[in-house]
Each structure stands twice: as structure tokens, then as C-alpha cells.
């Protein structure tokens, strides 16, 4: 744990000596500093050993010596060569940037810090400069004149710092006329760093847990089941209805997979209770799996191979249990993986069927290949066909806005369904300003495995543009609830809101839906899913 550092107040004479003009150094000559609060801990030896990743050792990013393996330069350069050959996109991204600057001021980390190396174009340049030196003629001969530089330890530290200061949110790519996707450059940058043992603890730990236990938090099957059952107790207290979910049930029609944050942390568990209540009300023939007990995939923030390895259990479980298709819970990066990678990595899932809602008969052609749909697609379809009864007045004490999580919005175009569900479940819904939502949404500042706690200052900074827009609707409309469809959002936003806009809570979409859901045979609802009195509903308020 970091020691609490009290801020030292400067003496008057120190203040008069402040240098207001930072040195005008070129970015290549500006060294990377590791100040507490602005970086994540390094990956632990035990986790790298568990995963069979290179160079397991104890180290700290703040140390001078990072204990790099012998010949690490060759490893990295060979790694670049291999990826240039394997991924055409990477080669193109290295070659075609015209420095137009359209992406420069679109990154939340740059917007909030003014640090030029957080401009997406410069973040890419951190690798591109090395690419030029070793893989292009002009760079080999002209060196720095052509923007090329040697790979050395300083460069590697700079990569580590800035590739773990990019949340792979892809906002910049929306504005690039060439479609250069800095998130992919970061993904490759992190892969290269992993070749020499340079991951962060908050990613490597969850990945190791997931590999051994099936989920990021390392929750074992009995605890998983226990947690869900205790949610069922809370649901019974609230509704008088006993919900009886099944686990690892062979022959169920549907497998349900959600991120582990939904069944452990607050406020994620309320979203999870929402799923349980909805599925019960529909009488859905579905099962949970205690093995595919993680929808998220921090392997995706490590390397392509690691992501594929962790993802494989989903289809494997679907096959073992003999289900027909899969529903996935509210998660962000999980959906980029499911939507864009799963099929190529571990498909084709020929043994599954194209998802058809047993309640409405809707055939989800969009998931024809993956056989997996997002729960808001499923629920929006139910509402559209009038298949569930909602009493949105139960959410009348809430003024809700919606944060488009980066991956579902930019990575899969899921923009309308969550809004449709929210507007059906809540009477008071307000959008944030246009240039901060939908495809242009601002990241929470904690995505891609950066939601550790030791980098809290960095997270508060990166999340500032998002929080700034929330604050606007808080002041303008009295918004007091930030809805979303992402487990990292639910984990990271409460801190962001407490810092920038105290008074704004955080909820998953299905928590608000379940508040409004009128269940057959329920007792009058006087409390919400959090066990708090529902204003105006005869509670003890």
C-alpha cells in the first residue's frame, strides 16, 4: 500500500522561485517520470509464473533497474517484425499517418493533462519512431531527422508509461480520416512489453485468476453459487418471490455469462439481481456456469493469445452443457471481444443455433455467427413486443443519464437498445451533451485494466472529461444517477462521481429495469434493489 503522502505546503520564498516556463524540450528528450498515484504496480512474479509468461520476477516501475532479460532488445524487435507480418493493420498504422492532428485533442488523457505524449498521434509515434529506425530505409539513414530513434531502456519505460495510460477506448479513431486505431497500436505495444515481462499487476493478477478459477476475482464455484443465492434471498425480501436459478445445468436452452464484478462488488450486484428477476419473470430456460464465470477478459489487455486462451471457455461450456445459444451480461470490453474476436479465435460455433428469443420469436440475425447476444438487445426486444410489465414510477426519485461505454458503443454500435430499456424503465431521462455521448463518448478513464487503486490520481484525471459532462446535467437537470452497461464502469464510476460530482450514483441498466419490473404475484414493493425505501411507495421514509 502506498503511504499517505500529505501535501507539503510551499514556503513563500519557494513560491517566488517557481519557474513558470517548463523547459521546451523535444518529446524525444523529455524523460518519463514515475510519480506515485500516476502509474500501476508491476506484474507479480507468481502471476507471470502461473501464466507461463516471460521474465517472472519481483520488480517495481519506480526502480531504476527493471530486471529486463538478457537480449531484450532483440526480443522486442523480433516481436515487432512478427506483428508487422501478421497484422496488416499494424503495418498500415505505422506507415500512413499524415500528422493531420485530427486525433490530437480527442483523447481524455490529453484533454485532462495537456501532456503531449497523451495525444494519440504521439502515443503511436512512441512505437513508430522505433519502427522507422529498424524497419524503414529513411529512418535507418536519416535517423532523428526522419523521426527515428534507437530502442533503449528509456524508450521501453516510456512505452510502459504511455501504453498503460491509454484505455484502448478508440475515441481518437472516430476522428482520424484514415481510421488509424490507436487502441490497436496500444494493444500491440502492450503485447511487446509482455514479451519481456512488463505487465501491470491489476491485469496480470486477474488474468492468472481467470486462468486458474474461471473468473478475474478468483471466486470458486461454491462461492459463486453462494453469492448468487444470497442475492436471491434479497430478492425474496423485496418481492416475496423466490427466484431459483440453476448452475451448470445440461440441456438448458440458454447459457448466461456475465462479468464477475456483477456478482461480487457494489453496485454491480444490483445489476445482477436485475438479471435474475427478469429471467425468472420470463420463465427463461437458462443456466449459469460456474466455469465460464467471467464475461470480461483481461487477457485482451495482455496479448492476443492470452485473450483467446481465456475466451475459449465460453464456447467450451456452451458445448459441454449442450445449450442452444448464449446471452451475455452488461459489460464493456467483453463485448468488443465477443463481437469482434471470439468467432475468429474460437469459432465457428456450429454446434449452437442462431439466437431466437423464446418469448417474442425474434431471430437475432446480427448474432448469426457468434450465437451470442447482449442482454440489452434481448430486453429491448421484450419491451418492444410488450412482453414485460413495467412501473417506471418506482424510479421517479431518480434522474438518470446514460454513459455509453466505449466498447459497446464504438466497438459494436450498441447505442439505442440501452436507451430504449432505460426510457421504458425510468420517467426522468436526460442525455449528456452530444459531443460526449454515443460514438463520441468519453471514457471512464479506468478502462483496459487501468481501474487499479494505486493510480487513482491518474484515473480521476482521465475521467475528468466524462465527469465534466455528467456535472453539467447534474447542474442543469438534477441528474442523480449515471446508468451504464459496463462492469468496469460500475466499479470505477462511484469514485469518479464522488470526486467530481458528489451526489450522482451509479447503476447498471438492468438494476433500474428490475426496480420497475412488475412481477407476477409480488408483494407491494416498498424498497428498491439496494434495500432502500422507495419514495412514495409506502416505505418507512
Amino acid at each position: 500500500m502506498a503511504k499517505v503522502e500529505k501535501a507539503k505546503l510551499p514556503k513563500p520564498e519557494e513560491i517566488s522561485n517557481i519557474d513558470y516556463h517548463p523547459p521546451a524540450t523535444d518529446w524525444m528528450d523529455t524523460p518519463t517520470e514515475f510519480k506515485p498515484g500516476t502509474y500501476c504496480w508491476g506484474a507479480k512474479e507468481k502471476d507471470l509464473l502461473t501464466l507461463g509468461l516471460p521474465n517472472p520476477r519481483q520488480w517495481s516501475p519506480a526502480d531504476e533497474d527493471w530486471k529486463l532479460p538478457e537480449g531484450w532488445e532483440t526480443t522486442i524487435l523480433d516481436g515487432i517484425a512478427e506483428r508487422l507480418a501478421k497484422y496488416r493493420s499494424f503495418k498500415i498504422f505505422m506507415d500512413i499517418c499524415v500528422r493531420c492532428g485530427a486525433c490530437a485533442d480527442k483523447c481524455h488523457f490529453y484533454i485532462a493533462s495537456g501532456d503531449p505524449k497523451n495525444m494519440p498521434v504521439l502515443r503511436a509515434e512512441l512505437i513508430r519512431s522505433v519502427y522507422k529506425k529498424y524497419f524503414t530505409k529513411s529512418g535507418k539513414f536519416l535517423g532523428r531527422l526522419a523521426g527515428a530513434r534507437e530502442l533503449d531502456e528509456k524508450v521501453l519505460k516510456e512505452w510502459w508509461s504511455y501504453f498503460f495510460q491509454c484505455t484502448e477506448c478508440r475515441r481518437c479513431s472516430v476522428f482520424c480520416p484514415y481510421g488509424i486505431d490507436q487502441a490497436e497500436v496500444t494493444i500491440i505495444g502492450r503485447e511487446l512489453l509482455n514479451l519481456v515481462g512488463l505487465n501491470i499487476d491489476w491485469i496480470a493478477g486477474p488474468v492468472a485468476n481467470c486462468y486458474m478459477k474461471g473468473n478475474h476475482l478468483g471466486i470458486e464455484p461454491h462461492a459463486f453459487k453462494g453469492n448468487i443465492e444470497s442475492m436471491c434471498d434479497d430478492i425474496e425480501d423485496m418481492t416475496g418471490i423466490r427466484v431459483n436459478p440453476t448452475f451448470n445445468r445440461k440441456g438448458a436452452e440458454i447459457l448466461f455469462v456475465t462479468p464477475s464484478g456483477d456478482y461480487l462488488g457494489e453496485p454491480g450486484i444490483y445489476t445482477c439481481m436485475g438479471y435474475l428477476m427478469l429471467f425468472h419473470e420470463l420463465g427463461l430456460d437458462y443456466t449459469w456456469s460456474t466455469y465460464a464465470s467471467e464475461g470480461g477478459n483481461f487477457g485482451f489487455f495482455t496479448s492476443n493469445d492470452m485473450a483467446k486462451r481465456l475466451n475459449s471457455k465460453i464456447y467450451a461450456e456452451a458445448k459441454r452443457l449442450g445449450v442452444k445459444w448464449i446471452i451475455g451480461g452488461e459489460c464493456g470490453h467483453m463485448w468488443r471481444v465477443m463481437n469482434q474476436y471470439m468467432d475468429t479465435w474460437n469459432g465457428p460455433a456450429d454446434f449452437l443455433e442462431v439466437p431466437v428469443s423464446p418469448i417474442t420469436g425474434t431471430r437475432f440475425e446480427n448474432a448469426k455467427s457468434t450465437k451470442m447476444i447482449h442482454i440489452t438487445e434481448f430486453t429491448a426486444d421484450l419491451i418492444k413486443h410488450n412482453k414485460i410489465k413495467l412501473d417506471p414510477s418506482r424510479n421517479d426519485h431518480l434522474k438518470v443519464t446514460y454513459h455509453d461505454s466505449c466498447n459497446p458503443s464504438r466497438g459494436m454500435g450498441l447505442l439505442e437498445e440501452p436507451r430504449y430499456v432505460l426510457k421504458a424503465a425510468c420517467n426522468n431521462f436526460y442525455e449528456m451533451p452530444e459531443n460526449t455521448i454515443r460514438e463520441k463518448t468519453f471514457c471512464c478513464g479506468s478502462g483496459s485494466g487501468l481501474n487499479a487503486s494505486e493510480n487513482m490520481e491518474q484515473r480521476m484525471r482521465g475521467g475528468f472529461p466524462r465527469a465534466n459532462a455528467v456535472k453539467y446535467v447534474q447542474e442543469k437537470h438534477g441528474v442523480n444517477m449515471l446508468a451504464n452497461i459496463c462492469a468496469v464502469d460500475r466499479a470505477a464510476f462511484p469514485a469518479l462521481m464522488d470526486y467530481w460530482c458528489p451526489g450522482v450514483g451509479v447503476a447498471g441498466t438492468h438494476e433500474l429495469l428490475a426496480n420497475a419490473l412488475v412481477m407476477k404475484g409480488e408483494i407491494p414493493r416498498v424498497i428498491d434493489l439496494r434495500g432502500e425505501d422507495l419514495p412514495g411507495k409506502g416505505g418507512n421514509e
Binding site: K8, I15, I18, S113
Partner: protein, 184 residues
């Protein structure tokens, strides 16, 4: 405050604010694009917006003769930003003292001509008073960052603690305060 000096500041308000803004922007890492200054959209450039709001608000309160206290939203909002921007405490707070420098520069001639050095000194000591409130706000922001970490840890392990019947052992009120914050 001295009416002569007040009039002079009012007259040059926009120049003072602009120079002060520029001086604050110079405390950030070298940025050749001039982004903080050029981008006027408050959502695309929240830092620039906070600087504008903060500087206008501070200057207004200083010349209006209103009582200074900690409850100045624009000051609070801007210091929150500075507190998470990788500055040392001294650097985070220097923006207030920059105002002294700017006022002396912009009004140099007028102050000399009118011989209002005393008024200037008392204006400057008001800036110092404000700086003390600002330091308090800054320290609170930094402390809050550590609290956010513990609160987050509690939320993450909520069900485990609840199951192990340990909830009463961790400060329950603190939790309730947070919950209330989330639901009011």
C-alpha cells in the same frame, strides 16, 4: 477595496484575465497546439473551461469586496482539476500568485502615475488570503483521493464482507454515507 485600483482593474479586466489565463496555461507541459486556449467548447476542453471560470470568479470576488471563504464553487472546481494534474503542491497552487504578477505588469504605468502602491499591497494581501483557502481545498482534494481508494475496496468486497457477517466491523456509517450519496 480602493476605488481607483478597482476602476483600473475593471477597465483592464479582459486583458488581465487573458494574460492570467496564458500564464496558467504555461504551467502545463509544453503544448505547441495551444489547445487549452483555442478550443472553446466546454465539453471538448474542460480544463480550459475550468481555468476561465476559475479566473473570472476569483477576480470578481477579489474586486467585489465580498467576504472570502472556502465555499467558492469556481475555486473548488478549479483546484480539483489542479489536484490531479501531476503537479507538486507548489505548482498546483501557483496559479493564484500569478495574478499578482499579471496585475503589476498590466497596470504598471497606472499604478505609478496614481501612486496607489498601498492599494496594490492590500489587494495583493487579499490574494494571499484567498491562497490560504485554496491550500485548504487542495489538501482536502488530495486526502479525498486516498479515501476514494478505501471506499472502492469496500465496494469491491461488499458481498464477501456481508457473507462473512463482517459488515458491522467496517465503519458502517461511512458506507451509509456513500450509499446515500448514491441515492439521493
Amino acid at each position: 477595496m480602493d476605488t481607483k485600483l478597482k476602476d483600473l482593474i475593471e477597465e483592464k479586466r479582459s486583458v488581465i484575465l487573458e494574460r492570467w489565463f496564458d500564464a496558467i496555461v504555461e504551467t502545463y507541459p509544453l503544448d505547441t497546439t495551444g489547445f487549452f486556449k483555442k478550443q472553446k467548447d466546454r465539453f471538448a476542453n474542460p480544463v480550459g473551461h475550468a481555468i476561465v471560470q476559475g479566473t473570472e470568479g476569483i477576480l470578481e470576488v477579489l474586486i467585489s469586496g465580498k467576504e472570502l471563504n472556502e465555499d467558492l464553487p469556481f475555486l473548488n472546481d478549479f483546484i480539483k482539476v489542479r489536484a490531479v494534474q501531476d503537479f507538486t503542491p507548489a505548482k498546483a497552487m501557483d496559479f493564484i500568485f500569478l495574478l499578482k504578477k499579471v496585475v503589476r505588469e498590466v497596470l504598471e504605468k497606472e499604478i505609478r502615475q496614481n501612486q496607489i502602491y498601498d492599494a496594490l499591497l492590500s489587494f495583493e494581501s487579499k490574494i494571499d488570503d484567498l491562497a490560504l483557502f485554496a491550500f485548504d481545498i487542495y489538501v482536502k482534494c488530495r486526502e479525498q483521493i486516498y479515501e476514494l481508494k478505501t471506499d472502492e475496496l469496500k465496494r469491491m468486497t461488499y458481498t464477501l464482507l456481508k457473507k462473512a457477517n463482517l459488515m458491522y466491523e467496517i465503519p458502517a456509517e461511512e458506507f451509509e454515507v456513500n450509499d446515500q450519496k448514491c441515492n439521493t
